[in-house]
Subunit: 215 residues, 2 copies
């Protein structure tokens, strides 16, 4: 003991700020989120946000960096477990891509909505996607190309992009499907949601490959 006393453990102010920012950016988007509201939800003074993250852009980038790191690690870990020699590895590849962001470690609905915003966003968002997601994306595209060796590179990359689109629709439009059919029942469980999105992405990929094939 040297007399120094650590104030708070891991989820110190810095972590609370990131959590609060993740939620508010998800709800309001980048421009709509306010530093004041984030500080309020994190129970810290507004000035502290600037001390730790310089400015709003820095805070936004920190949120993306933290969560994308977790998601990419999980994605790659699952992808490495896929046996590319098996009969049809595409569903396994899609599950490795789609399950991490849908699961609890993926930040739940909040971060998934940020991810959706990233994909339809402006130049700042594009730069963040390129930095934090492109490297992993290339890994998945390479795996899909191995699984479908006769497909064109363009079909494969669109199959990847449209799989992410299915992910976005799954997260962002949750609730609308039930509303449109007047359903009143409970929330689906995660397994079923993942299974449906995986089936959709795998089926869609093969459909565009078939449509692209020379007649």
């Amino acid at each position: 003991m040297d007399g120094t006393v650590p104030k708070e453990s891991p989820p110190a102010a810095q972590g609370r700020i990131l959590d609060a920012a993740e939620n508010i950016f998800a709800e309001q988007g980048f421009a709509g989120a306010g530093m004041k509201a984030i500080a309020l939800r994190a129970n810290v003074a507004q000035g502290l946000l600037h001390y730790h993250f310089s400015n709003k852009d820095g805070l936004y980038a920190a949120v993306i960096e933290r969560r994308s790191g977790i998601i990419n690690r999980d994605r790659i870990s699952l992808l490495d477990q896929v046996n590319l020699e098996k009969q049809d590895p595409v569903p396994d590849i899609m599950e490795a891509l789609l399950k991490p962001p849908l699961g609890p470690a993926g930040g739940g609905r909040a971060y998934a909505r940020i991810l959706a915003g990233l994909c339809v966003g402006d130049a700042r968002d594009s730069a963040l996607v390129e930095e934090h997601y492109d490297p992993t994306a290339k890994r998945f595209i390479a795996a899909l190309q191995i699984a479908r060796p006769h497909a064109s590179a363009r079909s494969i990359s669109w199959g990847y992009n449209l799989a992410v689109g299915a992910l976005i629709a799954t997260v962002a439009r949750d609730g609308r499907s039930d509303r449109l059919i007047g359903a009143v029942e409970k929330i689906e469980d995660l397994e079923k949601t993942v299974a449906r999105t995986v089936a959709y992405a795998a089926g869609g990929l093969d459909a565009i490959i078939a449509a692209d094939a020379p007649p």
Copy 2:
């Protein structure tokens, strides 16, 4: 001649404002767009925006209303031409759904990005979707249910939602597919883009129906 002189014909200030707002809302999102910037691009005084549309919410709603009216009219018109008795009408239904927003009358990339934002947006966006898009959505879901009578209502409605997700990915992520494979060629033509998205949505729908079927 009575001395009165009409200032400008159809594309008067009101139309220019809507055009400018559509573009800036597309680029920046609702919160990011500024009334000042919209007025500047429309070449009108800022006060005029409030004279015509009361406030920012009113202007946003007017942009959605104008474009969704055109898209819904085109969608229903194409859907009514689909022969539901033919062997497999699903691709035709999907084309009726996806072609209008991708085409020139759909507002081009600008409005498509607004549409994407609507789908991942907050409460205000949900209300606008419910008002302007739900009625047409129900028509398409009904048509899909007729084309796939043995599929569950939930599979059908998710097939619809995920088709919209494919639309969003097609528009919003344009450019990323080529970047990821290092392509440097020209822009694809509209026909090919529509055909791929239609094939994806149709193939994905049947995949989730198959996955949902009792074993």
